[in-house]
Point group: C2
Chain length 339, copies 2
């Protein structure tokens, strides 16, 4: 397999190096063709390496960056005044060709703004988008945009469809991934003008367009890719997180109610573990920032090491499959077709 | 308690009179001050009454309506050419003062369009909205709009907030229900222009405005009422339905995998039942069409009799609490305040 170098923003996320460094170590141990650059406060990273009984090496380099972007920092602020942040330095490595990809669990808005500023968008792409993956009854559903763009034009939604299909093609080796447009009904007359025009563009685009889908189709697995604007996508994602969390809390409350229910819960433990494994959001961690001249993957801020490892794996896979090139090619094809 | 008459569109929903008639019977049996008018094809309704060992009575009247609005019929079509539909006739009863409320499990778009045409909106209300209720970790969250209005102005979102707060005040006897605005971040700078302006209006309105909330706040129970446009609200609702359904399917699959897991599942049955009861969507059935000169409640199309009964109960409660009057009063107060 081809050698891949991933720059890791070790300071991002709720936990920082305590999580990101062990995840990086596990990743290089599992993949002999992977090297990582651990970017951030070298003291803290060194301590995390030492805690794992490791030292810096060729495949586990440390690069000091003196600043940290806060999780709630306004993106414009991070872009303007945190030029030596671990996030910025990690992205710079991709721009300079010293790394093939950047992975960060940091501030999403800042990551998108910085990536866009440093790496630039691919030719023909108006706006990059955040593409996440969710479990479904039939496997997994990719969804974009998850929050980078609150207002989208029909052309931008079309481009999201193209980018999403390219991602699924690269990661899941699907030939012509099906693309659905998120709407509030399956009929053509449903939705606002933007969505109606986007449907028209997608229908004519050569993308394998399924048509309109609804919120429940995310989990039914009706299509491979669901396209929506970042406002709607973010609400759908957060709503799902909230519901899953509530169900977990209510279930735990029921199980611990009496000694009878505790016993019952104990008996059902293997079932619950298998259940949790299937829907474990940690296995779906890693959202791709698509449409950039380079691979950038965003991990959930609260990710643990296991979960952060999936985000690293996603970045490696995108590099190996030449994702950015695939997207460019597809956009160019369509533009030649339209011309 | 005051006498209430509810007109029931017996033909609406996926199952029609098989569900709606038994639910109506149970409702009048439970509430001596409730009468219902069963509207629809009198033969089918008569058969459903007979199947329950009942006949028509003063409190269980049958009113024949020869037409039925199909679940997938375009609302404009239903409005124009189904003037003798069970839905239309039931709403007409409210307009004529012969019923206090209408309950239907039928076509949502047609129900909204017909209600608006026949009953008219309350003075000062620009657009009626659909308000549903969802379980939360702290009780329940009301949310509107769930799909009647795909595009909303800031003023309309403000009015949704007022209507939702009036509903919670009436149903849950809360003095100053908290209202949140659905957004993709809690900071004021988040979201599109419409949402930002709506936040400003809500802040100045005298409504107990909490500020921005995110998708997961629906289930956290951060506020009593969540306001959003109908596109976003519908996606959030359907996404939740889809996730809950998938989790149910995956759990059943895990439980029935081997005889060991079946046994474990059997042991855990009381826990699962208690769990299901807490989050049983049937107990939350019944979405209120707010902003009309009359009470109209929409049941889920797939509701069973138990579930449809909750929608009837909701309508009765709204009538007894004088909901339409409360909304009018609140809107007038605000307009006087603004003048």
């Amino acid at each position: 397999m081809s050698r891949v170098v991933v720059a890791i923003d070790c300071m991002g996320g709720d936990h920082g190096p305590v999580i990101t460094v062990p995840a990086a170590i596990a990743a290089v141990d599992a993949d002999p063709d992977l090297s990582v650059v651990l970017v951030g406060l070298s003291d803290t990273i060194g301590a995390a390496l030492a805690a794992a009984g490791r030292t810096e090496s060729d495949r586990l380099r440390v690069l000091h960056a003196p600043e940290v972007v806060a999780m709630d920092e306004p993106p414009a602020n991070a872009l303007r005044s945190k030029k030596k942040s671990s996030m910025r330095v990690a992205i710079n490595l991709v721009k300079a060709g010293e790394a093939d990809a950047c992975v960060s669990a940091g501030n999403t808005g800042a990551l998108m703004a910085t990536s866009r500023f440093v790496l630039k968008t691919l030719p023909g792409i108006e706006r990059p988008a955040i593409c996440g993956v969710l479990p479904s009854m039939r496997g997994r559903t990719y969804m974009l945009d998850l929050g980078a763009n609150v207002d989208c034009t029909p052309v931008q939604l079309l481009q999201f469809g193209i980018m999403g299909a390219s991602l699924v093609g690269a990661l899941d080796h699907v030939d012509a991934p099906s693309v659905g447009l998120l709407n509030i009904g399956v009929e053509d007359i449903k939705g606002n003008d933007t969505v109606k025009q986007a449907a028209e563009l997608l229908r004519l685009s050569g993308v394998n367009f399924y048509g309109n889908v609804e919120g429940d189709d995310i989990y039914k697995g009706t299509v491979d890719v669901i396209v929506c604007d970042g406002f709607v996508g973010n609400v759908a994602l957060k709503t799902s997180e909230g519901l899953a969390q509530m169900l977990g809390v209510v279930l735990r409350r029921e199980v611990t109610r009496t000694w009878m229910t505790r016993l019952a819960g104990l008996c059902a433990l293997p079932v619950m573990k298998a259940f949790k494994r299937t829907v474990d959001h940690r296995r779906y961690n890693g959202a791709s920032l698509l449409g950039l001249q380079g691979v950038v993957v965003k991990s959930h801020g609260s990710a643990d090491a296991f979960s952060f490892g999936f985000a690293i794996g996603r970045a490696v896979e995108e590099v190996r499959m030449g994702l950015a090139g695939r997207i460019s090619e597809r956009v160019n094809q369509l533009q030649r077709g339209a011309a």
